[in-house]
């Protein structure tokens, strides 16, 4: 019983987070709704039988990406000068039509077929580790290379951008 209640609460929080992240008028509210959504998607991962992915979601998305987003919003302020986050009316119309159209088209495809559901599967972290280190070794190494390159690139952008600006200011 309590699992069902928690499941529907998590689904409701996911819907609220998605709507708030795309509709809220202020950027910091959008980020907070996005954090809510990431946490509840982690809860959905747990209901899908993989607590490991739920933990990774909380660690990576809530911990790393969320802090990065809030940090950059604080750096790129001041937002109280222009509180409106919505674009022009045309853009809102196009975005709403596109999103609703994609949802309706794919909704028909998703809801009409009858899935063949297999037996329930428990968490298999050992199988995930074996797959990563045997079959998907090359993507794994490329991901680590990508993260190193992006860290170096971000530091270079920060440092060199600041230096160039300083030089221009001196001249």
């Amino acid at each position: 019983m309590i699992e069902k209640v928690v499941f529907w609460i998590v689904v409701f929080l996911t819907i609220v987070g998605g709507l708030g992240a795309c509709l809220s008028n202020s950027l910091i509210y959008a980020v907070l709704f996005l954090l809510l959504l990431m946490g509840s998607v982690g809860g959905l991962y747990i209901y899908l039988g993989s607590p490991f992915l739920g933990m990774m979601q909380v660690l990576i998305y809530l911990g790393a990406v969320g802090i990065l987003l809030i940090f950059s919003i604080m750096l790129a302020g001041p937002f109280w000068l222009k509180p409106k986050e919505r674009g022009r009316f045309l853009k809102i119309g196009i975005g709403f039509t596109l999103g609703l159209g994609v949802i309706l088209v794919l909704w028909k495809g998703v809801s009409e077929y009858e899935p063949r559901i297999g037996p329930e599967r428990l968490s298999q972290v050992n199988k995930v580790g074996k797959l990563i280190l045997t079959e998907y070794t090359l993507p794994f190494e490329l991901i680590s290379l990508l993260i190193v390159i992006s860290i170096i690139g971000a530091i270079m952008l920060g440092v060199l951008g600041g230096k160039k600006e300083g030089k221009d200011a001196l001249e």
Binding site: L19, L34, V41, L48, F96, I103, P115
Partner: protein, 104 residues
């Protein structure tokens, strides 16, 4: 049990995709677009995990790919935020309609 039905998870990930597309078009700043893009990535991860759990019984390949999506999303966010802070230093704004330097 409602969580033994794949349709709920698939419709949720579809909903996240729609919300992300709408936000991606209607936001005014680059940061808002990045937030909407994170919505789309979350929906993609949820969909992969659903397919892995319900339709693919052999090996957890969907979990592996969801982990890869998380890594790519984290590194992409770092680079985009660095570019955005640089843009803000130079032009004092991150609204996409005011950044006309490359328009010609």
């Amino acid at each position: 049990m409602p969580w033994n039905d794949p349709k709920i998870f698939q419709l949720l990930s579809l909903f996240l995709l729609g919300c992300g597309l709408m936000g991606l078009i209607s936001r005014r700043t680059f940061l808002g677009m990045l937030i909407s893009f994170e919505l789309i990535l979350n929906g993609a991860g949820l969909n992969l995990m659903t397919v892995d759990r319900f339709f693919y019984q052999d090996l957890p390949r969907g979990e592996v790919f969801t982990l890869f999506i998380m890594g790519v999303a984290a590194s992409e966010t770092a680079v985009v935020l660095a570019i955005m802070i640089l843009l803000f230093r130079k032009y004092k704004t991150i609204e996409e309609e005011k950044l006309k330097g490359l328009k010609g």
